[in-house]
Symmetry: C2
């Protein structure tokens, strides 16, 4: 497919289904109106099998559904998707495949014994995780990293509009390509994974950016997408670091202004920027956690 443009896909801060205006009072007791993020349920089926009900802002349901199945290893590389039916009124989405998937089969067997297949699925995930080899030659220049993070922070977003939301970005060099936001950071990741699967985008030469913490879950999903570099403005967990080292994933956290910390795969980083010229975060670039005051 053709090369993706900068910000080829983004959330739409003007989409009135995604935010709501509500009234309340402020700390002085004055009536005020606030903008808040909408979350709504979406129940996902794989063929006839009910899989999960997710809470989501509701944009890009097709990407979310496919990405969830891919990242849970329920939809394998050779499973052909024959249809995706989203029914907005009943908050349901059905992903159809040509053949009943291996996962549905496993789920049926498993339910006869213990009721919920999540244990099996997790075991499968880790098995696949161990097999993935991330490309060793992909690099990230610190000058690109600084430009990339600045572009992401300056982009119009639901975060700037209403707060209480996480963002994820699929990037290449200093270019943010696909930008997704959602109430849970796992949904934002899944929407990007779904976009990549449906549009046949490879992760090999890409960079993944998230506003959320670098947990084991985030590391596993990034590796599953074959993306060799993961960046966050937030911190690390110990298991996230351990899994990243195991998979040889470049893990960069606490990336704010000119600062960052790399705890795995450091050799993919090229220090070509003078850290002194990268600005510290002023004004609109600053992002105080998952909300704004």
């Amino acid at each position: 497919m053709a090369k993706l443009k900068e910000f080829a896909v983004t959330p739409d801060p003007d989409d009135h289904r995604l935010v709501e205006r509500v009234t309340g009072i402020d700390h002085e007791g004055n009536e005020v109106t606030a903008t808040v993020t909408v979350e709504r349920p979406l129940t996902l089926y794989l063929n006839a099998q009910e899989i999960v009900t997710m809470m989501t802002i509701g944009d890009y349901p097709e990407y979310l559904a496919v990405g969830y199945l891919v990242n849970q290893n329920m939809l394998l590389a050779d499973d052909e998707i024959t249809g995706i039916d989203y029914e907005e009124d009943i908050e349901t989405i059905v992903v159809r495949t040509e053949h009943q998937s291996d996962f549905e089969d496993k789920l049926k067997k498993k339910t006869l014994t213990s009721g919920c297949a999540m244990g099996t699925v997790f075991g499968d995930l880790m098995e696949k995780f161990d097999e993935i080899e991330l490309p060793a030659s992909t690099r990230i220049r610190t000058s690109d990293l600084y430009r990339l993070v600045k572009k992401i922070n300056m982009a119009p977003s639901l975060y700037l509009e209403a707060g209480a939301i996480h963002g994820c970005v699929l990037a290449e060099d200093d270019q943010p390509l696909i930008y997704m936001e959602d109430v849970g950071r796992h949904n934002a990741v899944d929407k990007i994974a779904g976009y990549m699967r449906i549009n046949g985008i490879s992760g090999d030469d890409k960079i993944f950016y998230t506003t959320g913490r670098l947990t084991s879950e985030m590391v596993i999903k990034t590796v599953q997408m074959s993306i060799p570099i993961l960046i966050s403005r937030s911190g690390f967990t110990a298991w996230g670091v351990e899994l990243a080292r195991q998979a040889d994933l470049t893990l960069i956290g606490r990336a704010r202004g000119k600062r960052f910390l790399a705890l795995s795969g450091e050799r993919r980083i090229e220090f070509d920027a003078d850290a002194d010229v990268a600005s510290d975060e002023p004004g609109r670039q600053s992002r105080k956690g998952a909300n704004r005051a």
Copy 2:
């Protein structure tokens, strides 16, 4: 039981099982050592039924296990707990009840038809949610709110030690009583719910504080604990606000320094503080999201 003291239960920032020291490089390529939060799996059984594997920092597993079951409505008020067996080496915890619980029965029935009982459980939760009446007479004075938030921000914590963690506090007036932290905010809430169940603490005259966002999940859990006032330094989601209004929960968000925003149950707030004297957040009080730079 006797009245709880301030910070009767807190995380232990000196517990070496909770944080790890790892080495990496900083933005100038210099070797640095960082402190990161530990997350580990804990598989929960209710009697012989495997329920879920949670990722947790691992302190207070008994409170986490019982709180999870209570908040998922799997352990009802009249279910008697006869034992809690935590096996640290195999990362497993078993909660035993005198009789097989109503939930296990439902789970068995449900698995015969669709494989995972989470839909049923959610339906049950909402049914119970609609029945709960929160006490109308509990009040929060703004002077207490300012003192409470200040005490919480100044307390020693894993957040200050390693970042990438959420905190929750059970409070009364201006007193933080039970302070829990965990990699997921739902775990921190569940640990408090477990403490309350095991020690017979009523939520009626209490206040709940969280560093996380005011989502539907957080509102449902607070209402389930019969706590009439929920405060966060983070923002709101629309469904969180809607459910809070439905349950007549006092919902205070974006609470930083002297500022806050109340979007539900405003009448429980008594404006007795001069907002001008409440300090804005300086230095150590400030908490930049779920990590520190």
